[in-house]
């Protein structure tokens, strides 16, 4: 290597070779022998030639008898372009699929590479594409109902979801992702306005009854699925109000309680039998449920916060777990930290919630300490950003060493420098350095993980917990040791996201239904969720028109919002929602939505696309491909997010007149277009007079 220096980026472990060691290998010159021998060699060479041509002639022709005999085209053949569908003529497919068969649908779409990335990356496979379609058409209630099929509380998740759909959104590749999550919220608001006509009780068609322990997202998701199937569902909640972790753990500046309870009220209105204030295992033994109901689903969630066993952590005052802290802050609006300095240990989302809550309940100074460096914090980047805006002080790469106490009261915290968190294999194995630092603080909130408390729940039943207090559950089927009993939610998965819990709820509901209907539980089941989409690098946005940018979610002012529990995200207006939904590319819907990416990527500028973007009237009005400029490079079809633009096998493109090769929208939609190549529908004859033009 050498012509260039060592900075060569793609040099893959090559040994250096210098010209000296290269053998001057093959010499290509050759001559006839001199003299008589050469004379005969010359004649022989002629004979050899005849022999070779004779051999080839004997081998027979290799010709294809065109047009009777066609060449077999490769299925990647880049023939003439056609559209599969156009918005305004064809509608995009809406995937209304019962939960029972939803997985099969997703798998099939995935196999056929027709799964939109947002749907694929969502643990519950919410059809965000369909939602955006309805939202753009100003059909909010329908969007709500579509989302609700897989996401039990769109209004709630529209506020708190960590939106894996948006990270997978193909729009990332071009500019910025669609605001799918805020659109959930708008859909909820639209639904609420029309609730009276749309909210009907679900009919009970089956005699079996199912008990659900816990009214968190996963329990409700399972309950809703089962209710739709006609089962009678009873949900038990130990607190006074339903909602589980959403109620106790999520601060109300993110999730107003009226929204949460509004959503749950809707479920109740659909004939969910919700019984609050009943703690299974305490008020009612679980055996009783097992006896009374045909199936029992444990969706109790995680109740307990872990506290690090470090010196001083047992202090009487000033050390709290995250969940109790949040619960107090949420319910009472006061966690006893007014005017105090708070140090939150942990870098996850819950820790950030704790920190932000602490600010709101009047803490004088809030610090957040975590092991990880600032680029690798496990919480979502937008969360920590908002927290920093509000005044939280983040301290990264610090490990808790000792809680400094004085008279049983916390006075400070000793921290140790953390060098690395994970070992090369990716296991959690923090390495600490020798630098110590001490911070003065009054309250230490440990937010380093949660655990289930199921001892009470399972007491007296045949269910056996593991040593760590976990319930042994099949991760795919969500069955427990007892056939009748199922489990879902964070009890099974450990700390996770709301939407992840919902996904397990759907799976558990499927299992319960199969169990009750006497079907095989295992058939066609795969572990969920199946993460399928890779991340995108951030696209460069300069040069991108304003109209193509993502709508900006209005936020409350940081200094104002950190005072109380008022909402931080103020929500989009109706019009903004329509515009944002219209940005959706309708990936893999096989319907051209006029995104113009094909026109933009075309090196020949052969494609012209025009569309109307009116709310409710989004139409592709013009799609024109000048086939005579097209260079058949295939870049447009690769770019097409909806897969509507595709190459056909058509290669015989002879025209008597050049303008016949300019395909308009209708021509683009015709399939095959009768040629010798395709043999399809040769019904279009050209007028001889027209043929004689040119």
């Amino acid at each position: 290597m050498a012509l260039d220096n060592g900075a060569r980026h793609d040099q893959v472990g090559a040994p250096e070779r210098t010209p000296e060691v290269v053998p001057l290998s093959v010499n290509v010159s050759n001559e006839f022998s001199p003299g008589v021998k050469g004379f005969f060699q010359k004649w022989k060479s002629l004979a050899t030639g005849i022999r070779i041509t004779a051999g080839r002639a004997a081998a027979g022709p290799k010709t294809l008898r065109y047009p009777a005999e066609k060449v077999t085209l490769s299925d990647r053949w880049r023939g003439a372009l056609r559209l599969r569908g156009v918005l305004g003529i064809d509608d995009i497919p809406i995937l209304h699929e019962p939960s029972i068969t939803h997985n099969a649908l997703v798998d099939r779409l995935n196999r056929e590479e027709r799964l939109s990335p947002c749907m694929g990356n969502c643990p519950a496979n919410v059809d965000a594409r369909g939602q955006n379609y309805f939202m753009a058409e100003d059909r909010g209630p329908e969007a709500y109902e579509l989302v609700r099929e897989r996401n039990i509380m769109p209004g709630v998740l529209g506020r708190i979801c960590h939106h894996p759909c948006e990270s997978a959104c193909r729009r990332n590749y071009y500019d910025e992702p669609i605001a799918i999550r805020p659109l959930h919220r708008l859909a909820y608001e639209a639904y609420e306005r029309e609730k009276s006509s749309r909210l009907l009780p679900l009919p009970v068609t089956k005699s079996q009854k199912v008990a659900v322990i816990g009214s968190g997202p996963s329990g409700l998701a399972a309950a809703f699925d089962l209710m739709q199937l006609g089962y009678q569902v009873v949900a038990f909640e130990k607190e006074d109000k339903p909602g589980g972790a959403l109620y106790s753990g999520v601060p109300s500046y993110r999730l107003p309680r009226e929204v949460l309870h509004g959503e749950i009220d809707n479920l109740v209105a659909m004939r969910l039998d919700l019984r609050c204030g009943i703690e299974i295992g305490v008020d009612v033994p679980i055996d009783h449920l097992i006896g009374e109901f045909d199936a029992v689903l444990i969706a109790a969630g995680l109740q307990e916060s872990r506290i690090l066993p470090i010196p001083g952590a047992d202090a009487k005052e000033g050390v709290v777990g995250a969940l109790p802290f949040l619960k107090e802050a949420n319910w009472k609006g006061d966690a006893g930290v007014k005017g105090k300095r708070v140090l939150v240990i942990g870098g996850g989302n819950v820790a950030v919630d704790c920190a932000r809550c602490a600010l709101r309940v009047g803490a004088a100074e809030v610090r957040l300490a975590c092991l990880e460096g600032d680029q690798e914090m496990p919480c979502h980047p937008w969360e920590i950003e908002e927290a920093l805006d509000e005044g939280v002080i983040a301290m990264c790469s610090l490990g808790p060493e000792e809680v400094l106490t004085k008279d049983g009261r916390v006075v400070g915290m000793k921290m140790r420098e953390c060098l690395s968190v994970f070992d090369p294999v990716g296991r959690f194995s923090p390495q600490f350095g020798d630098n110590y630092s001490t911070f003065e603080t009054d309250v230490v909130v440990f937010s380093i993980g949660q655990a289930p408390t199921l001892r009470d729940v399972v007491a007296g039943s045949d269910l056996v917990l593991t040593e760590r207090g976990l319930l042994p559950v099949d991760g795919t089927l969500f069955t427990t040791d007892i056939p009748k009993v199922f489990a879902c939610g964070e009890v099974v998965t450990g700390p996770g996201s709301a939407i992840g819990s919902i996904a397990t709820g759907h799976e558990a509901a499927t299992s319960i239904h199969r169990y009750l209907a006497g079907q095989s539980l295992q058939e066609d089941r795969t572990p969920r969720p199946v993460p399928i989409y890779a991340k995108y690098e951030k696209a460069t946005l300069d040069g991108v028109e304003e109209s193509r940018r993502r709508v900006v979610m209005p936020m409350a002012k940081p200094e104002a919002r950190s005072e109380d529990f008022s909402q931080v995200e103020l929500g989009l207006t109706h019009l903004e929602g329509l515009q944002e939904a219209a940005r959706c590319l309708r990936c893999q819907s096989e319907v051209c939505v006029g995104c113009t990416f094909c026109a933009r990527t075309c090196p020949d500028y052969a494609i012209q696309v025009e569309r109307i973007d009116d709310p409710g009237g989004r139409r592709v009005t013009r799609y024109e491909l000048d086939l005579t400029k097209c260079c058949f490079c295939g870049l447009c079809a690769e770019q097409c997010p909806t897969d509507a633009l595709c190459h056909t096998g058509q290669y015989e493109l002879s025209f008597y007149h050049r303008d016949l090769a300019v395909f308009d929208r209708e021509e683009m939609l015709r399939s095959g277009a009768g040629t010798r190549a395709t043999g399809q529908d040769g019904t279009h004859h050209i007028d001889p007079e027209e043929a004689s033009l040119s």
Binding site: L64, V71, F655, Y656, A661
Partner: protein
């Protein structure tokens, strides 16, 4: 050409419609089945032009084979990009071909400039700017079969021709074209 012209004129003039039709049938048959190609290969499409006449696709099956000499050719296949520098040579070669002669524009460069339509200062946007093109083949480059298809289309088109000057037989062309796309105004595409 003179003999044929005279023949055609007299047949047409003397009301010998039936004779003219049969003569035309023979003449058109011979012309259509013996389209010797003047391979005006300038760029990439020339490779497919070569491929079309070689063993896998074999133009010769249809009686078409490339002759390098324009005087012996019937159809000029302009295969490839035509630049301002090249155009006079092509015009000259076309002029050297004996009548009756046809032109096939093979590939998008020859049809419209294709990928070089925009931003190129030296490419001519389609040979129909200076040649009467009979069949355009879209493609970049078109498959050899497309060229064969174009020759067959040209053959059908020749069946509408008559040796009588100015006369044209109205025949239904059996070959499918690409649909009922109406002609666009030239104006809005430039």
């Amino acid at each position: 050409m003179a003999i044929v012209d005279k023949l055609g004129e007299s047949l047409n003039g003397s009301g010998g419609g039936i004779i003219l039709t049969s003569v035309d049938a023979v003449v058109d048959w011979s012309r259509g089945h013996s389209l010797w190609a003047m391979p005006m290969g300038t760029a990439c499409c020339a490779m497919e032009l070569i491929a079309a006449s070689f063993n896998k696709f074999d133009f010769d099956r249809h009686g078409t084979f490339p002759r390098p000499d324009p005087r012996h050719c019937d159809v000029m296949v302009v295969a490839g990009t035509v630049t301002r520098k090249m155009a006079p040579a092509i015009m000259r070669l076309y002029a050297q071909m004996p009548d009756p002669k046809w032109v096939i524009a093979m590939g998008n460069c020859a049809v419209s400039g294709g990928i070089f339509y925009y931003d190129s200062y030296s490419v001519i946007r389609g040979v129909d700017e200076f040649l009467p093109v009979d069949v355009h083949i879209a493609g970049c480059p078109p498959r050899p079969e497309s060229l064969q298809d174009a020759v067959l289309q040209l053959r059908e088109r020749i069946t509408t021709e008559s040796i009588a000057p100015g006369k044209r037989h109205v025949r239904e062309l059996l070959l499918p074209t690409n649909g009922d796309v109406s002609l666009h105004e030239n104006g809005d595409r430039e």
